[in-house]
Amino acid sequence: MATLGELERSVMDVLWDSTDALTAGDIRDDLAHGNAEGVGKELAVTTVLTVLSRLEAKNFVTRERDSRPHLFSASTSRAAHMAELMHEVLGAAPDREAVLARFVGQVSPREADALRRILAGK
């Protein structure tokens, strides 16, 4: 049984890969079939709806309430979310070091050059 976090990721993958808005049933079917990890095998539509509500609360998913059943779509593309994440990792925001610890912090072009030369020489 996949964890809730992994289910959320699978559901988002389906939404990100789809051009249209989908119903919870569509998503369940999609997970049950094409999914390599077989996450959706014995998944109930209500479980998918629960996952969708959680994602909606985190602003990752938009719900169209006018249609029956409700239609869901990703509120932002995967690429835009990735850009947001990388911006936070690489950015020079003053609070960044307090948020996450990078293995190697910011490096100046000159230092990078010097290190590259040392590595090549060894």
Binding site: M12, F60, V89, V104, V107, A112
Partner: protein
């Protein structure tokens, strides 16, 4: 209380200027990063305490011979709606200053903490959706991105180490182990809490160059501490090599041209970090001796105790 406030003011001044500059220039912190971190914390804590303490004891001078007496008689006369005849404007000014400074420092610590916690929560959600778990390394997630990055996202209950596909492509298995051990050390030693406190101090005293210097020194010390943990798992050479490879392939090096002048100042400060870490591993720097360790820790403890004792000491003759 004259002696008290003069002594505290002198201590605050020493800790605001010459002491941190000497410590930031010293070579021994690289040989004992853990102890240097304790000393920095003592300097920051005592600096703040003696600053507030000096203002308080100066302001309360007309009210009593020590802080406790002074506070008691001050609040009594405040409730009675009158102030002693010889309490002047400067004393009231110092008292307000002490209270405002105390509130300012505490509030800033709280907001920095809350803001970091909020960014972390959002970041954790993004990581959960955009990365997959690495079964061979528990607590580690793989981010499908070509930029070579590795970082630790600290959490109250569970911390996550995130590695990018670009990083795995340029490191050997042994080098990857070094990176993971380094990031795990950040999480298990709760480095983010120390960094957060110094970041808050820096943020609340932007006109105070020492706060910036301390924050930068602490950031490097924390990296050295994590390196020391990684050295228990891999050889010094492997660790040095992984730092060099990741730094030389760093995406900032190419993106640096786009940085604002403000960005350059942080860059200049950080830039020595990777080289200093590597130098420390390659030169096989020996840790400082046992007597030096004991002395440094004792000095740090004394530093915190002195202003506390001065403030609470009963009736130092005025």
């Amino acid at each position: 209380m004259t002696i008290t406030w003069v002594a505290l003011a002198a201590l605050a001044l020493a800790l605001a200027w010459p002491v941190p500059i000497l410590l930031a220039r010293a070579a021994w912190p690289a040989r004992a990063p853990g102890i240097a971190l304790v000393v920095w914390q003592a300097i920051a804590l005592t600096g703040g305490l003696s600053m507030i303490g000096a203002l308080l004891s100066y302001g309360l001078e007309p009210f009593g011979t020590n802080l406790v007496d002074g506070l008691r008689s001050f609040s009594t006369s405040l409730l009675a709606g009158s102030l002693p005849r010889d309490s002047g404007f400067s004393q009231m000014f110092a008292l307000s200053g002490a209270i405002l400074l105390g509130i300012h420092l505490l509030l800033n610590l709280a907001t920095t903490f809350v803001r970091a916690e909020r960014s972390r929560r959002r970041h954790r959600q993004l990581v959960a959706l955009l990365s997959s778990p690495m079964p061979e390394h528990p607590g580690t997630r793989l981010l499908d991105h070509e930029a070579p990055v590795a970082y630790c996202l600290p959490g109250t209950t569970r911390s996550v180490t995130v590695l990018s596909a670009g990083l795995i492509a340029i490191l050997s298995g042994e080098q990857l182990r070094a990176v993971i051990a380094h990031e795990r050390a950040h999480a298990s030693q709760r480095h983010h809490l120390v960094l957060l406190a110094f970041r808050a101090w820096r943020g609340s005293l932007p006109w105070f160059p020492i706060a910036t210097r301390a924050d930068e020194a602490v950031a490097i010390l924390v990296e050295m501490l994590a390196d020391d943990q990684a050295r228990r798992v891999v050889s010094d050479d492997t660790l040095a090599r992984s730092i060099a490879i990741v730094a030389s392939e760093s995406p900032d090096a190419t993106a640096a041209a786009a940085l604002t002048p403000d960005g350059w100042s942080t860059l200049a400060a950080d830039s020595a970090s990777a080289s200093r870490r590597i130098a420390r591993l390659v030169d096989e720097v020996k840790p400082i001796g046992f007597p030096a360790r004991v002395f440094a820790v004792a000095a740090a403890v004394a530093l915190v105790l002195v202003p506390t004792a001065l403030l609470l000491s009963p009736a130092v003759p005025a």
